[in-house]
Structures are given as structure tokens and as C-alpha cells.
Symmetry: C2
């Protein structure tokens, strides 16, 4: 249903939590799991993935944890989704790789889908982690206007 997985959803929540704290100090998976009201194994799994994908920097050993790899304004929703689910492509057809579509005759669909895909991508690229982290207090007026 054009929907992202729950794990991606959780990733957005976790990233938001991390972004909302002091950028320099690490936060443990246990802490974050509690605050996000997620089971520890789940949170751990997701944080590991986000680390491997370069969105988080991890500190191993006792008193370890995670912190953002970049500033909260440099990370977008699209980045997080890509880290969790791979390239953003609505269909096989709409991926950037020039994979040839098997539906030759009827493939104006392809070109249009590519366009749709781009619109979605842009929308996701436009929202930064900083906005999400700040949304709790401010950024309420930013919601009143439509996007596209």
C-alpha cells in the first residue's frame, strides 16, 4: 500500500530521539528503546543497521551507544528510508537503473511512473531530521501549507 515497513517507522522515531539530544553524547540502545517504547532487540537491530549504513556512529564497549553521524539538518527522511529499505522505487520500472521494461508496447506507464517516483522522492528528500526533532514544539505552522 505504498507503505513503509514498521522497522522503517521505528527507525524514524529512533533517529528523531537521537537528534533531539545533545549531538556529542552517545545514547545506549537500552535508553532509546525505552523512550521509543520498543522492545530492546528490535531497537538494537535497527540501530545496528542505521550504524552500518552510516547514519549513526556507534561507540562500542561499556558506556557505549549511538550518536548522529552528521548534523540533523543534513539527514533527510529519504536517507533514513533508503538506509532501511534500499533505493526508493515505486516499481521495478521506475528505478533509476535503466532496466528495460518488459512491457514494451504499453510502456508509457514506465515514463509516467518515473515521474511519480521522482515526486515522491523529492517529497521525502525535503524533510530533514532537524525538522522532525523540532516538530514537537515549533514547526507547527509549517504543516498548515500543502506541499506539492
Amino acid at each position: 500500500m505504498i507503505r513503509l515497513t514498521k522497522q522503517t517507522d521505528y527507525a524514524l522515531v529512533l533517529m528523531t530521539l537521537i537528534a533531539a539530544s545533545e549531538p556529542s553524547e552517545v545514547q545506549s540502545a537500552t535508553e532509546l528503546a525505552e523512550r521509543a517504547r520498543l522492545p530492546l532487540p528490535m531497537a538494537g537491530k535497527i540501530l545496528k543497521l542505521l550504524g552500518r549504513e552510516g547514519l549513526l556512529v556507534s561507540q562500542r564497549g561499556a558506556a557505549g551507544g549511538y550518536r548522529l553521524a552528521q548534523g540533523a539538518s543534513e539527514t533527510t527522511v529519504a536517507d533514513i528510508i533508503r538506509a532501511m529499505e534500499g533505493p526508493i522505487a515505486l516499481t521495478d520500472c521506475s528505478s533509476d537503473s535503466g532496466a528495460v521494461c518488459s512491457l514494451e508496447e504499453s510502456c508509457p506507464t514506465c515514463s509516467t511512473l518515473r515521474r511519480v517516483n521522482r515526486a515522491v522522492n523529492d517529497a521525502l528528500e525535503a524533510i530533514t531530521l532537524a525538522e522532525m526533532a523540532g516538530a514537537k514544539h515549533e514547526a507547527r505552522e509549517a504543516l498548515s501549507e500543502p506541499i506539492a
Copy 2:
């Protein structure tokens, strides 16, 4: 991966094919399946669904088939996706139904997701079947720019 199912993909192709023909005359599932290079059972299943959802009008009996229920300019990509997959919602959180999110504390995510969701929705709502059907010949310059 924020992707729609293959059946939805097929639905877009089939709808495009139907829209590209004379609006008044019906086309059989067999015909359409051939032109879309899809197995007949698949095409049939999808066409039935689109009919039930009100996007197509069916003519039963011999020499039967399908035609558009509305003008090609009135039907959008979003309509087709909704017919195939239900309401467009990136996450449980972002649906329009005011379903309460379980992640209370961290739920600025909710509001932001709602915004993302809306952007996606708007993008899909903006593309009509008429555009897709016409894209084969024109609308090529709209593609010349890279995607992401």
C-alpha cells in the same frame, strides 16, 4: 520499499491501454492481456477488481469487455492505487483516521509522517490517466531531466 505491488503496476498499464482507445467501445480481458503481455488470469483478476471498485464499467456476456467509468482526465494515479491497495498511508500513524499513536512521547514523528504522506498523496493525485495515455507520443521532454 515504498513500492506498490506488481498488481497495481499491471493495473496502471491496463488502465492506460483502455484509456488509449475509443472511450465508448469495450475491450475484452483477452485483448487487453495480450496487449499488456500479461497472462489472461492475471489481467482478468485485476480488471474484475477495477470494475468492482468503480473505475471500469463491464459488459458481460459474449462480446463483452471493459470501458472506463469516467473520463480519462477524471481518473488519477492515486485513484487506481487506492482501488488496488486501499487507502494511501505510509504508516499506521499517517493514516487520516485519527488513530492514536502508541508512541506518545516521541510522536512528533506522527505529524511529520502525516505531512510526508500528504505530499506523496498529492503527487499521485496530480497525474491523470489522460496524461499517462498521452505520454507515449508527447511528454517526452518532461523526462529528459535526471531523477534524483
